[in-house]
Amino acid sequence: MPERFTTLTSRTFVIDQEDIDTDQIIPARFLTTTSRDGLGDKAFHDWRYDSEGKPLETVALNALDTETHRILVAGRNFGCGSSREHAPWALHDFGFRAVISSEIADIFRSNAAKNGLLPILAPKEAHDWLLAHPDVEITVDLAAQRVEMGNGPGFGFTIEPFARHCLMEGTDPLGFLTANEDAITAYETQTA
């Protein structure tokens, strides 16, 4: 179960690249796991390691302190491609708690919110500002649905209300479904 998400003050880490797909976030050959833990090492694997599996020193992700940098800012259309939930698992395990882009792919967005990784859709102007100002401290307030960015312009963001509720409570939506067992049974009876 993910921890509760209320506010987060942290520095940003910028990957200024569009259309980062879930095969980049975690390559398919690491999907032969039966657990959801320990995937942080595999996050952005093929960008971070050479063909022998040695970490590349020139790659900023390998030197990143995720205690102080918990917010990923990425180019447009982040998380497209495969529906693998391993992608948010890997990013969360790596240390990120929020990802900001001007557009985030549907399935990734839904998967992220279920795993303690807040997907934030920024308006274009604010997104451009964040891309142009890497490594700034910002504050995410999920209750107020706002991001405050020190010198930069703050912005409000929308998130599906139920996803927000689950993130703030640290709960999984499964409880909501099982609580509606009667409605499911009624539907099954009526359509049988």
Partner: protein, 476 residues
């Protein structure tokens, strides 16, 4: 409520409305009932673990169908021998699904099944995929099943757990988009060329938040395999799902399959029911796109996103952004020059996009009486055991083998490169699959997406080439 009452509705809305267990509110998404849940080894183990942790059962094992495809080897092995898994982890993943399926009473089309195959190939093949259904799978290409007028979503593993436990999916109602493909397509243009052209037109995020309905003369003229190819790649435009209304082509294809009614009266009733699921005249869509299908040519991609399709002999466009420049560099293509002529290292004919019998026939027609070019490795991977048998009955396997291609056992294979079938760094692969992302077919491997005919032609020529040049039968 009959599906035809009230205001005009789209195909998507009719299926959506018929499956509402609970309507959405400001605070909570809709609860949508799932008619068919497809399961495979890669995205299910963690979902079954959640069920076990919470002491929950699978609510409807009878509506759940499992197979093994992603991590499974496609190499031959003798009966009684252990399958030659690429890794121990892959073996364990398959064994985990076997154990979960048997513990929960779920039908698993495993190693001993005549119906094993890629999940999006076997659902339709069994007739389990039917018009008007809701279908989900922990796999983004679930949209394939929309070719039958079903509403089919790819979901994450947490949602796989939800559906296992409750047979329901939490969803906000997506927006709707209709893409009309006007006019007939030119001879030699396949369904793959159509969908690559559509994605090039609307972009990798053109369908974000939407369910797409494909319509128009060029779509109606497609056979079911072609319609599956089109719907399959809806996610490559960012869409939640893709759909095509069922018609006589659909019903004829489904008739006689295992999961559809065999009793003539029940069959007629089913067809009547299915026929309701089409957009009413006057149905409204949030977005409408019209594409002139007569101008579509055989397509290939030049970049590392599926919206980089261009005609095979058209020049690669100049980079419009840093991402495009990076893609050009990765692919080692030069702006202003066509993709045709690029030297090919491997050819992959397979995947849930293009591994069905008509795909293999198209590839075989090109390869017949010819030889794969020296230095090129060509892999032909049928989508299912049934497709493999049908191809062998038609002698297609002989054509591939005599041409020098490898004739494999069914599976996802080099589409996702997690079973040991893969490209090497720097290699150029012409592939009938659906994704050309960096490293998708192996670290550093470069992927050109194309139709089965274009891929087969590349194997013969040794470089990317317009398949029209090889469409005349070879002289013996």
């Amino acid at each position: 409520m009959s599906p035809d009452s009230g205001r005009p509705r789209s195909l998507f809305e009719k299926v959506w409305d018929a499956h509402l267990v609970k309507a959405e509110t400001a605070d909570t998404p809709a609860m949508l009932y799932v008619d068919l849940h497809l399961v495979h080894e890669v995205t299910s183990p963690q979902a079954f673990s959640v069920l076990a942790e919470r002491g929950l059962k699978v609510r409807r094992p009878d509506r759940t169908l499992a197979t093994i495809d992603h991590a499974t080897p496609t190499l031959d092995f003798a009966p009684g021998e252990a399958p030659p898994y690429a890794t121990d982890a892959a073996r364990k993943q398959v064994e985990t699904l076997q154990a979960n399926a048997s513990a929960h009473g779920i039908t698993l089309h495993g190693w001993d099944s005549e119906h094993r195959g890629v999940v999006h190939v076997i659902g339709p093949e069994l007739g389990a995929t039917q018009p008007g259904m809701t279908i989900v799978c922990g796999d983004s290409h679930t949209a394939t099943h929309g070719a039958f007028g079903a509403l089919a979503f790819g979901i994450g593993t947490t949602e796989v757990g939800h559906v296992l436990a409750t047979q329901c999916l939490l969803q906000r109602k997506p927006k709707s988009m209709r893409i009309t493909l006007d006019g007939p397509t030119a001879p030699g243009v396949s369904a793959k060329d159509i969908i690559l052209a559509v994605i090039a037109e609307i972009g990798v995020d053109g369908g974000t938040g939407c369910v797409i309905e494909y319509a128009g003369e060029a779509i109606e003229a497609l056979d079911m395999e072609g319609r599956m190819t089109v719907c399959n790649m809806s996610i490559e435009a960012g869409a939640r799902a893709g759909m095509i209304a069922a018609d006589e082509t659909t019903f004829a294809w489904l008739k006689g399959r295992e999961h559809v009614p065999s009793d003539p009266h029940k069959w007629d009733m089913a067809v009547t029911h299915w026929s309701h699921f089409r957009s009413d005249p006057g149905a409204r869509f949030d977005h409408e796109v019209v594409i002139d299908a007569t101008r579509i040519r055989p397509m290939v991609t030049w970049g590392t996103a599926p919206d980089t399709g261009i005609a095979v002999d058209a020049p690669v466009p100049a980079a419009r952004s840093a991402s495009h420049a990076r893609a050009l560099g990765y692919m080692q293509f030069e702006a202003g020059k066509p993709v045709s002529g690029a030297k090919v290292d491997q050819v992959f004919i397979g995947s849930c996009t293009n591994s069905r019998i008509t795909d293999l026939r198209a590839a075989a027609a090109i390869m017949s009486g010819r030889r794969v070019a020296p230095g090129v490795r060509a892999l032909v991977v049928p989508g299912s055991v049934a497709v493999r048998k049908q191809a062998e009955a038609e002698g297609l396997d002989r054509i591939f083998i005599e041409a020098g291609a490898e004739w494999r056992q069914p599976g996802c294979s080099m589409c996702i490169a997690m079973n040991g079938d893969k490209g090497e760094p720097g290699q150029l692969i012409v592939s009938t699959s659906n994704r050309n992302f960096e490293g998708r077919q192996g670290p550093g491997a470069r992927t050109v997406l194309a139709s089965p005919a274009t891929a087969a032609a590349a194997a013969i020529a040794g470089h990317v080439i317009d398949p029209a040049t090889l469409m005349e039968p070879a002289h013996a």
